[in-house]
Structure formats: structure tokens, C-alpha cells
Symmetry: C2
Subunit: 149 residues, 2 copies
DNA sequence: TATTGTTATACTCTATAACTATA
DNA sequence: TATAGTTATAGAGTATAACAATA
């Protein structure tokens, strides 16, 4: 978007992002993890341990829903509950080694599929996408991993 | 990715896309539509009427799940069932005006939030993102709107 | 008394299996 | 007999409301 962004620019941006979102959703490896479960694990991987209530608001689900999700992740060995020595009410959640392994596997599967698609683009398109990645990272930084709307 | 893409390039691509995916998911307007419902409506908007079974495989859900989803969309006036004169077994699904209106509303809401974020980037980052959109569109074209994995 | 998390209950969405109707 | 879709039933995931424990 140029310094003076037009409605047409904004619409184009949203539509392209919508299609990209759909593509990435369809590139999702398996149904072994729900979208929220995978996203929660990624947040823990990227940002370290967090309180249960912070995770709930980060993922846009209620506290009871996160309680259940964390219980599921714990039961399957992907994450673990810890206590906060400073406040007995707090539950701190951390990713477990099995969780990191699973994320790595899923990432590799998706990387392969994406690479196959990218290989079909011409050099200019590939270069344009790779050139935009740092900007995307900064866009995501602005929003924050625990960001709300 | 350069013509010769490295593992590091692929990992960077996937990680950036993962964060972008998370951002777009959190930018999602409301819970008025499930992710699959919204995606199905968008597919119908972009690509016109489709058979129920095609929609099911496009969205990666079973035929019974799509039967129920279409019933919900029909009950809420967002889509409608049509018959195929050439084959009495077939159900053709089309988006209704209310469905188009809803997609437009959601798109506007998301466009506003995205524009606010984009406004915080510097000119070079904004330009890099806008320059990559056509390449993203072609990437999505390669996969196809009804594409499988 | 306020905050953090859990339990109880109900609803939405999805899957698998069995069925109906048309080809 | 095969295909397109539906109905029946069960399970996962979520929300709201009520509760327990700690601050």
C-alpha cells in the first residue's frame, strides 16, 4: 500500500490474503491437532511458557476452553502444566519435547508441499514472495503473538 | 526462494507463513461463521455454483458434513440448493445475495484492521508486501480453489 | 472481595456407518 | 451395481454459568 492507500488497494490486499489463508489452511498436514491446539503450541514454542488465561485470550477462546485444551495437550504429552511459586492460583503452561517434535514434523510436511508449489512459479514471483517475508514478520510483530483485535 | 532453494529458505518461508496465518486467523471478524462455512461461501463467490460433493472435497470435510453445512447456510439464507436437470442425484449449491453481503461486510471489517496495521509499517515494507500480492495470487492459482493436498 | 482456574451442562461441528434415490 | 446425497449416532471442541481456591 502506498503512503496514501486507496480503498482499491485495501480490497486487493484483503482478497489476496484471504486466498493465501485458504491455501495455507488446505496445506495443513493432518487432523491430529485442531487449529487452536496447533496455534497454542506454536505460541508456546515461539514465546515460551505462559499463563493459561493469557493463552486463552491470545487464541480468542474462553478460559474453560483453554483449560480443556491444555488438559488434552497434557494428556497427549505435548505440553505440561507448571505452578507459579509467586501465586498459587496461576497455572503456567509450557510446551513439552514431544510438542516441539510434532511442530517440527508438521512444519517439514508443509515446507515440502509449499516448496513444490513455489517451484512452479517463475523466478520473479518467487523473488517477490521471498522479498516480502521480512515485511510480513514485522507485520506480525506489530500485532504481537498474544495480540487481540 | 532462489532458483536453487535451500532448506533454510524453505524453513524461513514456512515460519513466516505460519505467523501470517496466525495473524489472519486472529483478524477474523466474528464467530458468526465457522472457518469452513466462510471458506465455502468464498469458494462459491469466487468460482460460482458447485456440486455438494465438490465443495466437500475442496474444504476437506466429508459429504455428510457438507450436507449439514449447506443446510445451515440455506436455513440462514446465505446459500441455496439447486437441482441439476441432467442428473437427478446431484445437488448444486450457490451463494445467495445475503451471503455475498455478509462476505462483503466481513471483508470490510478485516480491511480496516489490516490497513491500520499496515499504516504502522515503513514505506519499504508496505511496498514489498503490495509487490508480492500478484505472486501470491498466482501461487493460489497453482493450487486451485478446489485443490487437494 | 477480586482473580485464576476448574467443573457442569449444552450446543455446534465433524466423522463413520447405514440408508435412499437416481443412474 | 455404482454414484450423489441424506439420516442416524457418536465424539471433539467450544460457550455460559456456577463453583473452588488463592490473593
Amino acid at each position: 500500500m502506498a503512503p496514501t492507500s486507496t480503498d482499491a488497494d485495501q480490497l486487493q490486499l484483503v482478497k489476496s490474503f484471504e486466498r493465501l489463508f485458504a491455501l495455507l489452511r488446505r496445506l495443513n498436514p493432518q487432523q491430529d491437532l485442531s487449529l487452536t491446539a496447533a496455534s497454542t503450541l506454536r505460541t508456546l514454542e515461539r514465546c515460551g511458557p505462559h499463563r493459561l488465561s493469557d493463552l486463552a485470550s491470545a487464541e480468542g477462546v474462553t478460559q474453560p476452553a483453554m483449560t480443556q485444551l491444555v488438559s488434552r495437550l497434557e494428556r497427549t504429552g505435548l505440553a505440561e502444566r507448571q505452578t507459579d511459586p509467586a501465586d498459587g492460583r496461576v497455572v503456567v503452561v509450557d510446551i513439552a519435547d514431544a510438542g516441539r517434535d510434532l511442530l517440527r514434523q508438521r512444519r517439514e510436511a508443509r515446507a515440502g508441499k509449499l516448496a513444490a508449489l513455489m517451484a512452479e512459479l517463475d523466478d520473479a514471483d518467487r523473488a517477490a514472495i521471498m522479498a516480502a517475508l521480512p515485511a510480513f514478520d514485522r507485520l506480525a510483530d506489530l500485532f504481537g503473538d498474544l495480540g487481540q483485535i
